[in-house]
Structures are given as structure tokens and as C-alpha cells.
Amino acid sequence: MVNLKIDGKTIQVEDGITILQAAEQQEIKIPTLCYHPLMEPYAACRVCVVESISGKGSELVTSCNTLVKNGMEIQTASDKALFARRMNVEMLLAQAPAAVPVQELAKELGIEKTRFKIKDPDEKCILCGMCVRACEDIVGASAISFLQRGQHREVCTPFGEQSEACIGCTACAFFCPTGAITVEDLHGRKVIHSELDLGPSTAIRVPIRQAVPMVPFIDEEACIHFKTGECKICSDVCQKEAIDHEAQDEEIELEVGSIILASGFKSFDPSLIPAYGYGRLDNVITALEFERLVNASSPTGGKILLSNGEEPKSVGIIHCVGSRDENYNEYCSRVCCMYSLKFAHLLKEKTSADIYDFYIDMRCFGKGYEEFYHRLLHEGTKFIRGRVSEVSDMALSKEEEGKLIIRVEDTLIGVVRRIPVDMVILATGLEPGTDSNQIAKVFNISCSQDGFFLERHPKLAPVSTFSDGIFLAGTCQSPKDIPDTVAQAGAAACEALALADKGKFDLEPITAEIDEELCAGCQICVGLCPFTAITYDKEKGISEINDALCKGCGTCVSACPSGAAQQKHFRDKQIFAEIEGIFIE
């Protein structure tokens, strides 16, 4: 441990830390520009300069890269330190007059204007070199470097051209303290950590916010380490040392008695309906995007804002986008009416916007749903019955200017209306997962015409499938809301448990059997069985069926040329009787 004095306070800190870190522990703020905890200190900006007093006199040191020593006495804001800091900032202001952090720092230190010559009033770069070091030391790409010296010094790529070495990781922009570096996707080269519409994406993330287990993963496509072999900043940060860059994907084989399919749905892509302008017009968003926006953990902190950062004054919610529409999906997606009502309610709660709901008809089928609809009516949400034909930004009148105009036939009054709003929320429908057909093939189950997995019976076996031991839960079977999903999932779990609890497997009662007395061992059936349930016993000269393997299709029965094979419950005799029965007058 080291004993020292900072700003007159005697403290004890651990060995090996810097003065800046020691001060930070005491909540004494020393301004810095080029310091970043993830980077080796370099003392380029020299803003962090402090006075170190020893027995004989004092000296100025940069606090970011000077280690604490026993008996040290530090003054972070002494006249001498402040004088030096002001001088340094004044010089930085001359170098980068447009850099906001420098301006702010200057203001804080009482500098109104720099006395030195300003070379470029738009310059933001303070030439601290953080970007260069980030690119070289952390990323390992070395795509940028300093060029020239003295007053001609600048940060640049080789020959000022786009560097092949650049991987588009944007680490330089991330570390730049003054915002001098911005990232732009110039030549269609992929920027790895591009910003999503609603928030930044990182190479380490949790797949979804409700993920169980809530464990982040590294997206190898986006991770710098998997491109250059360097970086690994995450390992430095993670105190639990939980990050393993060597981990490999594993395929795990499990033997199970039953399987519950809960592969979910795909949200309808509204860009397929060009008239609604999704992807073309700002502030036309999908239900899922709105859900994200309104969430407390969203980039806006749960505030409902337009793309320009303002609060909307009017919002239109369009129902049945991609549902109940012969051009897209004929079926009703079941959840949209209710979530649209929820959105309307949230909008009322969080904003003072006028809210318009455009519906075909309100489907408030569940417990408490109709009551909720009535509540919304009382809250003043305007419900307009009609299918929206178009959302555009072509203003025809003054009040439409700068707005999104929803064109709709109000079928209750029989008039085509144009309603200007600030934001349009598309209540997108639910579609089967893109790979539902492949999944169905793997599990030997069927899909219904709309592409959702087909249950064994719509009323009597709504969670079972045509394959024994395969059960369905949730929207992979049909669009449904959370209560229905939970109920079905519970039922599926019970079905699976019922099988597990019994611990044994009921054989299909409808299997085939071969009469030993009649079988001549012709073996025609043997090769036909898709389940290899039939074997030829050479010694006995007959073919035999393994009851455990036989699934009871009866192919062997209709192929048995001597009639020795019969299918239980579907014997030739029985089917002949059925045929005869049809023609009894």
C-alpha cells in the first residue's frame, strides 16, 4: 500500500495505480481528453497535468501515466497546475477549435478565446493519437497512422486513400474523444458495428431481452478479434473472466422421449406493401419497433419520439397489415387488435398525441378485452373503420405539410378521408417461421395451408401432431396471444410429462401380423416395409413382423400375395364388409 496526500487529504491506495486513478477513487475530478480506461495512458493531451510537491520543490506531472509513490503530495488544482492546464487547453483550442469537449473544457477553465493562431476553424482533431493506438494496439489492423510532423501533423490512412487494412470496426471513432472521426459506409464496404434504427449493436450481446438463460454471446461475424486476432477488450473488462474466445460451437445429441416444438413465428414484412411506405418514409414503424421504442430499456429510455427527436402530436395505428388480406395472408393474426389497443393506451399515457386506429373490425375476443376496448373509446382514441389504402408524405394542404398522410375510406360515414399524422404504426401480422417447412420435414409432421404446423385434431388433439411424441406450443401452430400460448405450452408439457411418467410406450394397436401357418416365405413384404419391421426367418421359411417396429401402415398386407399378412382392425374381411355395407339398399 502507498500513503500519499491529494489536495491536502491523506489517503492510502494500492500500489501500481496512477495519480489519476487515485484521485478518481477520492472523487476528485481531474479533466482528461486522451485518457480511456481500456487503453494504456499516453499523456498526449496533457490536460490532466497536476502539481507534485516534494521536499525541495514541486514539479508538474501528467496524472494519467504517473504512478503513485509513498509520501507523494499532489495538488490537482493548484495555481501552478491550473496555469499549465489552461495553457495546454488554449493550445488545443487553437489546434481543434470545433471540438466540443475542448470548447467545454476551455469554458470550465475560464478561457474565452485562444491567443494562438487558428489554422482551421472546423478542425476537431487534437492529435491525441487514440485512434491510431486503438487501430494498432487494440484492433491490430494498423489502418491509420500519423502523417507528417510538427504543425503539419495529421491522422490519416496511407496516402490518404481508403485503406485495405481497415476492417470497418469503427474502433477509431469509438475512442476519439472529440468526435473528429465519423464513420460512413462509403464504398459499400460493410461497417461492422453499424447502428440499428433503434440502437447500437455490438459484437457481444444477448440474443433477445427475454432470453433464457440470459447469457450474451459473441457474434463472430462482427467481433474484431475474429477478424484480426487482437482486441479482446472484453476479456480485460470482464472481471469474472467469463469470456472464452476459443469456445467452439458444439452439436449436442440428446436422446429424448418427446419433443415440444415451439419455434414461433415471423413478423410480416410490411415493406411488401409499398403503399404503406415502410422503409421509405421516416416515422412509419412496425409494431415490434414501437414495442422496442416504448420499452424502458430502449435507446430513448422509453420515450416515444419521432426520428427528429420530437414527440409526435398525432399517431395512426393501422390494423391488419399483412393479415386478412388475400394478397398476403388470408387469416386473422389474432393478436394485432389487442396490441394495437395497448399501443394506443401507452401513447395516451406517455404523450398527448391524437391517436387514430384504422381497423376492419375490432376483434376483442378474450377475457377483459372488450372492456379494454371500451376504456380506449373513453380515453379518446379515434377509431376509424376502414382499410388504409396509402400512407404518403405528399401534402395537399398546409396542415398536411411535413406530416404523413393516411388515406382511408371511413366506411362508417362513407367518405374517403386524408388524415395527417406524425407517426404511423403498422400492426404487422404473424407468419409461420421461414424454415417451418424444413422443421416439419425433420419431425415428419404437416403444415396447414397457411404454413403453420398442423395439429392432430383442431378440437380433440390441439397440441399433438401426427407424429407420436411431437407436441406443439405457441405461434408455430397458429397465431395466438400470450395467454393462449401459455395454456398450450402447459398442455404440451403435460402431454410430454404424461409420456415420461408412464415410462413405457404404447404400441400402435393397428399393426400388421403374419399368420405362420399361411406364410410361404415369399419375402415380397420384407423389402417393402419402410420401418424394417419384417424379417425373413430362413429356418422357419416364413417372414415375421416385429411388433415394436411396425407402425401399422398396412403396405405389406396389401402386397402379401397369399393373404397371410393381415392388418389388425383393417383386415381384408373387414374392408370387404365395409364395401358391401355401402351398397346395401
Binding site: 401357418e517 399361411l518 410361404a520 416365405g521 415369399c522 430362413k538 396389401s558 400375395p561 397369399s562 393373404g563
Partner: protein
């Protein structure tokens, strides 16, 4: 002539005469038969008249062996007469059992058969277009009659009640002797039984073990199209062999002669329709899941109905080709 010896009758209907030969082929065994029974009616070998039979007391003939299918009015009349006079009637041979080769005429009818036989066949020389008449008045006023030729060929049991069936074209010697012995000794199975094992021919067939693990047929060959392996299962060679759908008991006469089974013994008891049953089995072996390819293989089967129903058409479910004339 001892009165204690049981009386036996033999009669032939629409048949080739092979069944009569089969009786003769019993060779010295025939002596045992004649020693044990009294043959009271056997048109092919001995001179009896219909009136002799009519004169007999009803039921006085112990057993009548009737071969051949029934295809005209005379045959129908005779088998009815014999039925009346006999205690037991045995359908002797494939034709009376199943319809046999004459039964293939059920793909035609009287008109088309007469047309072919008396007009269009290449060897016919019939400029006046004469066809057989059932009745003709001679110049001297006498009336000549011929039996009526039916549209359809029948099995014996479609005309009269039959007690037992001796299958085969013709029935083999050992089955005939077993049947006669059983009748003489009174050790008879239940009525309607086919006097041959109720298992298909593969059970006896020496080639059965040469079958591959999975029979699959890419193209169907007719016997003259290929040089046949004389040890390998015919189906494995792509040759239609009715053995799997045919009752055993023939001692593999055809197989030993390197010819596939044609099905003269008829189906086993569990099978309703030999041809359809065999078709179900055979078609499943066609080695393709592709519609066009299946069609191609099917086209290599030249005459499925004639092949699968070679001996059993009149006894099959459909019995004959659909009649053009509608009742």
C-alpha cells in the same frame, strides 16, 4: 359287377382333355382305382349314354369328377344331371375350379368370339358367313339342334353346388390319388375344401432362397426375352411368376422346367381374387417413385389382365370383361 363298390362318374365340359389324360396317367394306380370303385359314366373312355345316367337313382353315384368349365347349355344340363345323381361332386382341374384357360374367353363374348372364329381369323374360309345355329330344320323336316353357346364361361361352382376342388392344370397324380383315397376311406375335409396345401408355391419352391434381400423390378421381361437363370427366383430376374399368389401342391412342375408359375392352382383360401392380389404384390415391387418411370415399367407388362388372371378369370370378383349390352 359288385353292388358294394361305390359308383364313380367322370365328365368333361369345356376343357382340353388334359384332365382325362391325368386320370390315365395314374398308370398302374388306375387299377387300384377300378378295383375299388365302379365307374358308371366316363364318356371319354366308355360308352354310356345320358339316358343311362338319367335312369340312375338320385344320389346313387358316390362321386362325380367333373373337369372343364361350363360355357354352353349342354354342359350346364349335364352337370346339373350329375349333381342330382351324385353324393359328392369334385371340380377336377383348373377349368372347373377357376375357369381355366377357356375362361380367358370372358374377355370377349359370343358375338366377338363367333366373329373371330367364323369370319376374321386368318385360317377361316367361310365365304357365305355361316355361323352355328342353335336350331336347323332339315329339308326332310327333321330338326337339328346344337347347344347354346353362352357369352360367359363359368366355373363349375357357379352352376352347381361343388363339394371339393382338385386344383391344377391338370391335377397332379399324387393329389388325385390322395383325394380318391380320402373319399374311399371317408376321411374328408370340410365341404368346399381345395384338396391341396393352403400355402403359396414359394413354400415349396427350390428357388425361394435365391431371392435378394429386397426384391425390386426395373423392367418386366417375358420369358422369351431373356436367357433365364435356372436357379434364381424368377421375380428377381424381372419375370412375372405367379408362384407367390398361387397355391402349392403342384410339385413345381413348371419351375423345374425353368418356366415361371402361371397360377393354375388358384389362390390360397384367404385371397378373394388371385389376379388383383398378385397385382398388389407385384406392383409394389416396381422400383421407382417417379410417375413417369413407373408408367414406363408398367408399359413393359404387356397383358396384365391375361397374365394375372390366366387361369382364374371366371372365378375372379369381376368374372369377365364388362358387358357392352346393358340390361
Amino acid at each position: 359287377m359288385s353292388t358294394e363298390k361305390p359308383k364313380v362318374a367322370f365328365y368333361w365340359c369345356a376343357s382340353c382333355g388334359g384332365c382325362e389324360e391325368a386320370v390315365i396317367d395314374l398308370a398302374e394306380d388306375i387299377l387300384k382305382v377300378t378295383a375299388a370303385v365302379d365307374i358308371v359314366f366316363w364318356p371319354v373312355a366308355m360308352d354310356f349314354k345320358k339316358t343311362d345316367v338319367e335312369a340312375m337313382e338320385d344320389g346313387s353315384i358316390a362321386v362325380s369328377f367333373i373337369n372343364g368349365a361350363v360355357r354352353n347349355s349342354e354342359q350346364e344340363e349335364m352337370v346339373n344331371l350329375l349333381r342330382r345323381k351324385s353324393g359328392l361332386v369334385v371340380a377336377f382341374g383348373s377349368c372347373s375350379h377357376l375357369g381355366g384357360i377357356p375362361g380367358l374367353a370372358n374377355f370377349w363374348n359370343r358375338k366377338t368370339i363367333f366373329n373371330s372364329s367364323y369370319h376374321t381369323s386368318p385360317s377361316t374360309d367361310n365365304p357365305e358367313g355361316t355361323i352355328p345355329q342353335e336350331k336347323h330344320i332339315m329339308e326332310d323336316g327333321k330338326e337339328l339342334t346344337l347347344p347354346r353357346f353362352y357369352d360367359t364361361v363359368y366355373t363349375l361352382d357357379q352352376v352347381i353346388d361343388v363339394d371339393y376342388y382338385l386344383p391344377g392344370c391338370a391335377p397332379p397324380k399324387h393329389l388325385i390319388m390322395t383325394a380318391i383315397t380320402a373319399i374311399l376311406e371317408g376321411k374328408l375335409p370340410s365341404k368346399g375344401a381345395v384338396l391341396s396345401p393352403n400355402k403359396s408355391l414359394c413354400d415349396d419352391c427350390g428357388r425361394n432362397d435365391s431371392k435378394p434381400e429386397k426384391l425390386a423390378i426395373k423392367a418386366v421381361k417375358r420369358p422369351w426375352e431373356v436367357e433365364m437363370d435356372n436357379e434364381k427366383c424368377f421375380l428377381a430376374q424381372g419375370i412375372i411368376c405367379m408362384g407367390p399368389a398361387t397355391r402349392s401342391g403342384c410339385e413345381e412342375r413348371c419351375i423345374l422346367g425353368n418356366m415361371p408359375c402361371r397360377g393354375c392352382f388358384g389362390p390360397t383360401d384367404q385371397v378373394y381374387d388371385q389376379g388383383a392380389k398378385f397385382l398388389g404384390a407385384f406392383a409394389s415391387l416396381l422400383d421407382s417413385d417417379d410417375e413417369e418411370e413407373i408408367e414406363k415399367i408398367v408399359n413393359t407388362i404387356v397383358d396384365p389382365a391375361g397374365t394375372f388372371y390366366r387361369f382364374s378369370l371366371p372365378s375372379s370378383i369381376l368374372r369377365r370383361k364388362r358387358m357392352e349390352t346393358v340390361k
